[in-house]
Symmetry: C2
Subunit: 447 residues, 2 copies
């Protein structure tokens, strides 16, 4: 006997939790499609040379082998599990360039794998739910504003309070140039400033001093990182710091444009925040992070940005893009562990048809098929045991309603329907009840 | 520059094909949920000892390694990608036994991986869409009849002609016992008989003779394998062969029960076929295969059966089950390559809002949001280029309708909607048009 054990870093949910995760994935997908994003799915596996094309060769990549190594083709070790959906997107777009229509708006909801150390409490297998738009030569700035609009709609539909923080790489780089921090020092300094939320101003100042920055410069770097608000306040605060530089100016105008385009979002759900950095080398313009104000410890649950040259390693075309990604597994895991989501439905079944006797099975099957044809997920209890036990089964599984067909006569079409949460019980013609359900509209699938 | 190339055996679809695959996956999931199956998702990775618990250690399993081998924990090589969803189900049920409610009806739609030789034209990464029911101690036979009912509904909704072939392991084993073929020879003989469709009667007879079977026995084995029909014909044909044995009798009764329960299915969609074998050691009762009569070369696209002891390696409980699995990737790949499905929609967008000028962008955005609130997937063309070019973009992407807001006046609410397939163009109040769409019901998402 082999006792099965969980594998650290590879989360699995109970059926109730999986229904809740599925609800989140479905909501993201629904909204993505509403905005015209089309599904793409890439293989879980990429050539190592593709994953490494950006120079990102590190210990986090899982490669493939074969159990019977003598049977393994040499090339197996050239394959590895993808660690995000962005590199695969770049490869896919380059590979299928001739058959894609630009601007190419795609969503991709898949698992990715990273060989993280389990003790860091990070997942080694997790879902990402990404959208990206790629255009030829030039990508209108309106798409930079579409990203927060889409994400806001996803989180609103999920009933989660959120705040999208927007910044611009050129504002940061331009400001550092204006401060005399140049070249490689810019990225090194930004990497330290990125820790501001976690370690505080004093520690970051110390680290910046270690890079050789003067005290006055350090203060301005830190003051800059603490600027946040809507566009007018941010413009004013930068002016007060006395910073001016062409790239800074250009980035700031783009930020103001995005801010204006998103005027319809609830005031608290969007903020320009010069403290976010997204230190990935491929971001070149607008950058995003999303926090849940009630769960600050979670950090960003949805991040992204604009990139001018994602596909440059694979194709000789200018294909600028902008994208954003929800880190689904970490988010739902936290919603479960914090008790924010405590799903009680263990199955999608909406109605359990009670089986009063073996003789009634034919009628029960007929009733169940009528419910299903009306789009109502239905189970028939499998054995004619004590009715209370059948109802208890529904109750324990979180099935909202039970239907007693024991008064069912085909000529009268009468059934009893009991709503378990309220105890309300009605005797009704099945045809009438089905019509009522249909008029009420499909219930939202919130488990 | 790194030219991206496909990886043999790891299929990827164009956006139009992916939409079609997604439609198939959604249809399966919708029907599975209608019958009360709940989603389960297991990690892509299992311990090798779990995958090998049934003794199935073969070259088909992909193990994990690390790119930087010095950083790899020893245990990485103990993990491998799952090769089906059945072993993971057994492990999941044993691991979560205490928190599951039985009968446990679950569906699982995930990718699996097998290290097949690419030259065989088989996929090394593919989707399976499974349902299984597991019960404690005893599983009512009605679930054996539910499998074909569910699968019939999936294929009917997909508009694919299908035929479900049902057999019973005990009928085969009992009949072979009655013929004096005993012990290990039963499986060896069945393995040869399983090739009947492919290689023909003469070749199989030769192989059976090689196993030492007498000519009269061989003839009866082959006659048995060629029996097919609904229950009465099959019972009669077995009687005519003069075969009688307790297990054969029991199996036959169960087959007749399943056949009777499925009387509501179209006559041609179900057949008892004593020629199917499903030589996997864990099937013990009813077995299923599904063929598409218009695509006989495809073989079975959906197979399964009943098993008495799937979880025996992991838990000391009696948990009989029955399940069935659609081989999604092979099926859709064939539908594409045979031209049966030739998807022309490249995105889920239902309406493209034309952008007549930069000044109209605000109105266009407002119109788009109203469409989305009505559940209509909508894009706004990103740049105010020539209108014909905008319409051509919609046409090439397969977007069914374009909406011209250039006559839009907020007080009149007037828009023009053009249906590209027919050329029909209407000038209508947006509010009215949205109400019409809503009354017409959501269009089926067949891409």
């Amino acid at each position: 006997m082999l006792k099965p054990r969980p594998i650290s870093g590879f989360p699995e949910w109970t059926p109730a939790q999986k229904l809740a995760e599925q609800y989140l994935l479905d909501t993201a997908r629904y909204v993505y499609e509403l905005y015209g994003y089309t599904p793409v799915e890439t293989a879980a596996i990429e050539r190592v040379e593709v994953l490494a094309a950006k120079g990102v060769v590190d210990k986090e990549i899982y490669t493939l082998g074969r159990l019977r190594q003598e049977a393994a083709a040499e090339q197996d070790w050239e394959y590895a599990l993808h660690f995000d959906l962005t590199v695969p997107l770049a490869r896919y777009v380059a590979q299928n360039y001739g058959s894609l229509h630009f601007p190419f708006k795609r969503y991709q909801i898949q698992k990715v794998w990273r060989g993280e150390r389990p003790q860091e409490g990070r997942f080694r297998e997790f879902y990402q739910a990404d959208i990206d738009v790629l255009a030829e030569n030039e990508l209108p700035l309106h798409f930079d504003a579409e990203m927060p609009a889409v994400i806001a709609e996803v989180f609103s539909r999920l009933g989660l309070e959120f705040k999208i923080r927007v910044n611009h790489r050129q504002v940061l780089l331009g400001a550092y140039t204006a401060l005399g921090v140049e070249g490689k020092d810019q990225e090194l300094a930004l990497r330290e400033v990125d820790k501001l939320d976690k370690v505080g101003r004093a520690k970051v100042a110390e680290a910046l001093a270690g890079l050789g920055l003067a005290t006055g410069v350090i203060d301005k770097c830190l003051d800059l990182a603490q600027i946040q608000g809507r566009a007018p306040q941010v413009v004013k605060a930068i002016e007060e710091l006395g910073l001016a530089e062409p790239r800074l100016q250009q980035g700031l105008e783009e930020l103001c444009f995005v801010d204006a385009e998103l005027a319809h979002l609830p005031q608290d759900s969007l903020v320009i925040d010069l403290g976010i950095v997204r230190g990935l080398d491929y971001y070149t313009g607008t950058i995003y992070e999303t926090i849940l104000p009630r769960h600050p410890e979670l950090g960003s649950v949805c991040s992204g940005g604009r990139y001018e040259d994602l596909t440059g390693q694979f194709i000789n075309r200018k294909l600028p893009g902008v994208g954003i990604s929800i880190g689904v597994s970490r988010l739902v895991s936290h919603l479960f562990s914090s008790g924010t989501w405590d799903p009680q439905r263990h199955c999608p079944t909406e109605v359990l048809v009670i089986l009063p006797s073996e003789e009634a099975r034919g009628d029960c099957g007929t009733v169940a098929q009528r419910l299903r044809r009306a789009g109502i997920a239905t189970e028939v209890f499998p054995k004619p045991i004590n009715l209370k036990k059948q109802v208890r089964y529904a109750d324990r599984k979180g099935i909202p309603r039970v239907l007693f067909p024991h008064k069912f006569k085909p000529e009268e079409d009468t059934v009893e329907v009991k709503t378990l949460a309220t105890g309300e019980q009605v005797t009704v013609s099945l045809a009438q009840w089905l019509e009522q359900q249909s008029l009420a509209g499909a219930p939202p699938k919130i488990y």
